[in-house]
């Protein structure tokens, strides 16, 4: 099918007002009667549903263009208003213009010299600066012209023109009617208008007072036929009917020479109807209503607001070929896979074009039909006709099918889809995954990709989109697939890494002295999907390091400290050394496998590419979990039992702290405490006490970690999988200082926090220092303090989330058009420079290590080779 296109370029757009002549010229019908249909139900000529305005009934032909329903775009009509009325949306402009022009000669209220001067500076201005500055100048001018009380041209005295809301102009407390207003505006010379920012060629101010009203085509206000056969007209048609009716009555009354009062009343009524036709939510005006009492939806309501055309239909689009449900974890999936329920896979389809080579393959899907799983739902013929595949049509379609047809087949394993979780703050919030069709009704993902999506499984839902064209699929695969997203452009390290069990499992496995039987090792490796065990030493027992090495690339050389290095740099186990793909010594922990810091992952990704990197991560992840399955991995209360020695040490820490606190308070009471710069003595005391008490908890943490009986909980902390020494301390030794609004607890009763303390007590207990541990249980007053912090932090998160979200939105909107040019400058869409060198150092963060370029490593790499 050949399509022919005409390519045209828009060279300019001009905005202006529509004058009566333009309105009449563009109209195809003059509307004279409020009646809609005649007795036969045919649209009345000259009525609001006139067939010259377009057609909304099937079978009828448009009298203007001769096209049928859905082909005819609709045509405008007009009505001649018996008396002019003000256009409510331009009322402010009209008021401004009235105020700065003379009431008798309609010249601008500026002296001739001033006018000449402004005209000159205007010319100069338009050469060098943009419209924004011109607008500022015009504003100044308007303010100046308004203040004069005598016309410099005809010397007439100027009265202040006032606007009585919504649409009445008063001069000297006397009403000036729209006819008079229009007459004044007509007299303003073109040159004067150009000075106040009105282009007289396209926008004469008198056009803001309506003498003819354009009638929108029927196609934008179609009537609905109810089941009963009754017709229900659109809100706009109702409103227009009112206008036409009142207009007719006004005409009749004027022609009959009715008293002025009656005419004035009708005129005001016409003004009301025209105003509400444009905007039904003008303040001081009662909105026009249906008989049922609900307000009519007129022009402004159609465009503005959340349900309006812009925010609802233009900015907010809905999409087909998408799915959304609750998510769940499945570590057996590869990291770049997503588990899709079968029922979803049968609704979501991928269009595939038939060629001679895939004809049989695609016909098999058609044969299966829409209800049998790997089937198809539609075929598309080369002429663009879509045919649904059903049991009846199946046979016929199978015969008809040939190369060039498109089959919309069910989603299959390996198809490319986009996966997304809101809020999409990241580019990693929307990544491309491969489909794995699974049983069940939830979307499944590897827990390693929880971090980039910021997902957990407490009821989170995620969205899935199926790209429908080859281009979209290619783009998704190359730019968005999970493996290409591992290194974050924010800090140049991996966002995806081992978590939780994956780390503690590998930590245990790679400990010196960890051994498993050959059979167990093969068992584990096989469960990771490995089939080649040639790299596993053929011994009766293999070490954990040997098992781990099987996953490593054969030629990898790597050296990096682990978490032990800080405390025991001499210990060979504190340095991970990999030579020729063999883990020689050192154990794995979060500093090599974790997210963010995962240096081993980072190195493999860099040396072997995204595909290998993601495969390695997936295997290591599952290896950790499988290792824990061998002996089991649990935690209990006894994990945090302290030794007698530990108990004593904690006690002595607390005693020491108590003494120091008392000393500090005494110093303060004696007035000997030296205030820190910029703080009062009270503030200094508070600050020092807080420091002191926080140090107590940290010290207790270190002691507790060293004096706990060896357990799985300790393993988790040491490997960096979960928890820290502070958590151990809180459970076994002391919970520590509670803070509300960043300082010690200072609220409650007069001069004290709770009624069980003495007034003015500055001691640690009275201000939220919890000496008990979670295991021993807290004292009543400690419970109160704990609850206070709990509430405080809850408030904090509840208030911070929307605030930071809005801040982010503003940032994103402000920076959305920034890009780095080839000369490393950051520029916006108009070429304006924002930075002269990206980030001031020109480093591509995504290709660096944590924002830095490791020059040492690069040099040593070059020297070695």
């Amino acid at each position: 099918m050949e399509e022919t296109f005409t390519h045209k370029k828009i060279s300019s757009i001009k905005f202006g007002l529509m004058g009566p002549k333009i309105i009449k010229d563009m109209s195809s019908a003059k509307i004279v009667t409020p009646e809609l249909y005649d007795k036969e139900g045919y649209p009345v000529d000259g009525g609001l549903m006139d067939v010259r305005l377009g057609v909304i009934d099937p079978g009828l032909k448009c009298k203007t263009c001769g096209l049928k329903l859905k082909e005819c775009p609709g045509h405008f009509g007009y009505i001649e208003l018996a008396r002019p009325v003000v256009h409510i949306k331009f009322i402010d402009v009209v008021l401004d213009v009235l105020r700065m022009t003379c009431s008798s000669c309609s010249r601008l209220l500026l002296s001739d010299e001033k006018i000449a001067q402004v005209a000159k500076s205007f010319e100069k201005l338009s050469e060098i600066t943009d419209e924004k500055n011109q607008r500022i100048l015009v504003k100044k001018l308007i303010a100046e012209a308004k203040t004069l009380s005598k016309c410099p041209h005809c010397q007439a005295k100027q009265e202040k023109v006032k606007l009585e809301k919504p649409s009445t102009f008063l001069e000297n407390e006397k009403r000036i009617n729209p006819i008079e207003v229009r007459a004044r505006l007509e007299r303003i010379p073109d040159e004067d208008l150009n000075l106040i920012g009105i282009n007289s060629e396209v926008a004469r101010p008198e056009w803001m007072i309506l003498t003819v009203l354009p009638i929108p085509p029927v196609t934008m206000r179609p009537s609905i036929t109810l089941e009963t056969g009754e017709r229900s007209e659109d809100d706009l048609t109702h409103k227009l009917g009112d206008i036409v009716r009142i207009n007719q009555r006004l005409f009749e009354n004027i022609n009959a020479g009715a008293p002025e009062i009656i005419i004035e009343d009708l005129w005001d009524l016409l003004q009301y109807h025209v105003t509400t036709f444009f905007d039904n939510e003008v303040s001081q005006l009662p909105p026009a209503r249906h008989r049922s009492g609900q307000p009519l939806k007129t022009l402004t309501a159609r465009i503005k607001f959340k349900e309006g055309r812009i925010r609802h239909n233009l900015a907010g689009k809905r999409t087909n070929f998408s799915a959304r449900t609750v998510i769940g974890p499945d570590p057996k999936l590869e990291i770049n896979e997503v588990g899709v329920p079968r029922v979803f896979a049968m609704k979501l389809t991928v269009p595939e074009r038939i060629t001679t080579w895939n004809e049989q393959y695609l016909k098999a899907f058609v044969q299966k039909g829409p209800t049998d799983y790997p089937g198809a739902t539609y075929i598309v013929r080369p002429d663009g006709r879509r045919k649904k595949i059903t049991d009846e049509t199946k046979e016929q379609l199978l015969e008809e099918i040939q190369p060039g047809f498109i089959v919309e087949r069910h989603l299959l394993d390996g198809d490319v889809v986009l996966f997304n979780r809101q809020p999409s703050l990241h580019k990693m919030s929307m990544m491309c995954h491969r489909v794995r069709v699974l049983d069940g009704l939830t979307l499944r993902l590897n827990p390693a990709v929880c971090t980039p999506y910021n997902a957990d499984f407490d009821g989170d839902e995620m969205n899935l989109h199926v790209p429908q064209t080859e281009e979209a699929r290619a783009e998704a695969e190359i730019l968005m697939e999970v493996q290409t997203q591992i290194i974050s452009p924010r800090f140049g390290l991996s966002v995806i890494g081992g978590t939780q069990d994956a780390i503690s499992g590998n930590y245990l496995l790679t400990q010196e002295g960890y051994k498993v039987s050959y059979e167990t090792a093969v068992d584990i490796l096989m469960r990771l999907g490995l089939v080649d065990f040639s790299r596993l030493p053929k011994k009766k027992e293999v070490t954990g390091k040997e098992v781990f090495s099987v996953l490593l690339p054969e030629d990898l050389d790597f050296k990096s400290p682990n978490k032990l290095y800080k405390t025991e740099p001499e210990n060979p186990e504190s340095m991970v050394v990999i030579k020729k793909g063999q883990l020689k010594h050192g154990f794995m922990d979060s500093s090599n496998l974790g997210e963010g810091s995962g240096l081993l992952l980072r190195q493999i990704y860099k040396l072997y590419g995204p595909e290998k990197g993601v495969l390695f991560l997936g295997r290591v992840y599952r290896l950790g979990i499988e290792v824990l399955f061998i002996d089991g991995f649990t935690a209990g209360i006894s994990d945090i039992d302290l030794t007698q020695e530990g108990d004593d040490k904690i006690k002595s820490i607390l005693d020491k702290i108590d003494k120091e606190v008392l000393l500090l308070i005494k110093k303060f009471d004696d007035g000997k405490l030296e205030a820190l710069p910029g703080r009062t003595e009270e503030e200094t005391l508070e600050l020092k006490l807080l420091q002191l008490l926080n140090r107590a908890r940290n010290d207790a943490g270190a002691v507790a970690l060293d004096n706990t009986i060896y357990s799985n909980t300790i393993d988790m902390i040491k490997s960096g999988a979960r928890g820290s020494s502070i958590h151990i301390a809180q459970m076994s030794a002391l919970v520590g200082q509670q803070a509300v609004h960043g300082s010690r607890v200072n609220k409650g009763y007069n001069d004290r926090t709770l009624s069980c303390f003495k007034r003015g007590d500055k001691g640690s207990l009275a201000h939220g220092f919890i000496r008990s541990s979670f295991k021993d249980g807290m004292k009543p007053y400690e419970t109160f303090f704990m609850a206070m912090t709990g509430r405080d932090s809850l408030m904090d998160t509840a208030l911070r989330t929307p605030k930071s979200g809005y801040l982010y939105r503003r940032l994103a909107n402000a920076m959305q058009d920034l890009k780095i040019d080839y000369d490393f400058t950051v520029r916006d869409a108009s070429g304006k420079i924002v930075q002269f060198n990206y980030g001031e150092d020109g480093v591509a963060v995504a290709k660096s290590e944590g924002g830095h370029i490791n020059v040492k490593r690069i040099i040593s790499n070059i020297l070695e080779n």
Partner: protein, 77 residues
């Protein structure tokens, strides 16, 4: 009185000569319009007696690059 210009947080501001200015425009293939702006009455350049159309070179300390150079065009008020 505090000498503002010697304050740690005020970077060094210099006025470019006409020749330097042209070279800058050529280097980035820009005109005056594409430069970021600085107000004529900005306290940091008052001592340079700036005029509309001048270009100010700012040398700052930078956490990423150590020393970073930035240019701003003097705007009218």
């Amino acid at each position: 009185m505090v000498e503002q210009l010697k304050h740690n947080l005020i970077p060094q501001h210099e006025k470019l000569s006409e020749e330097q200015k042209q070279r800058l425009f050529e280097k980035y293939n820009i005109s005056f319009k594409e430069l970021p702006k600085i107000h004529v009455s900005d306290a940091a350049i008052r001592h340079l007696d700036p005029k509309y159309g001048d270009v100010i070179k700012i040398t700052r300390k930078s956490p990423t690059a150590g020393r970073a150079i930035f240019y701003r065009g003097v705007s009218r008020d």
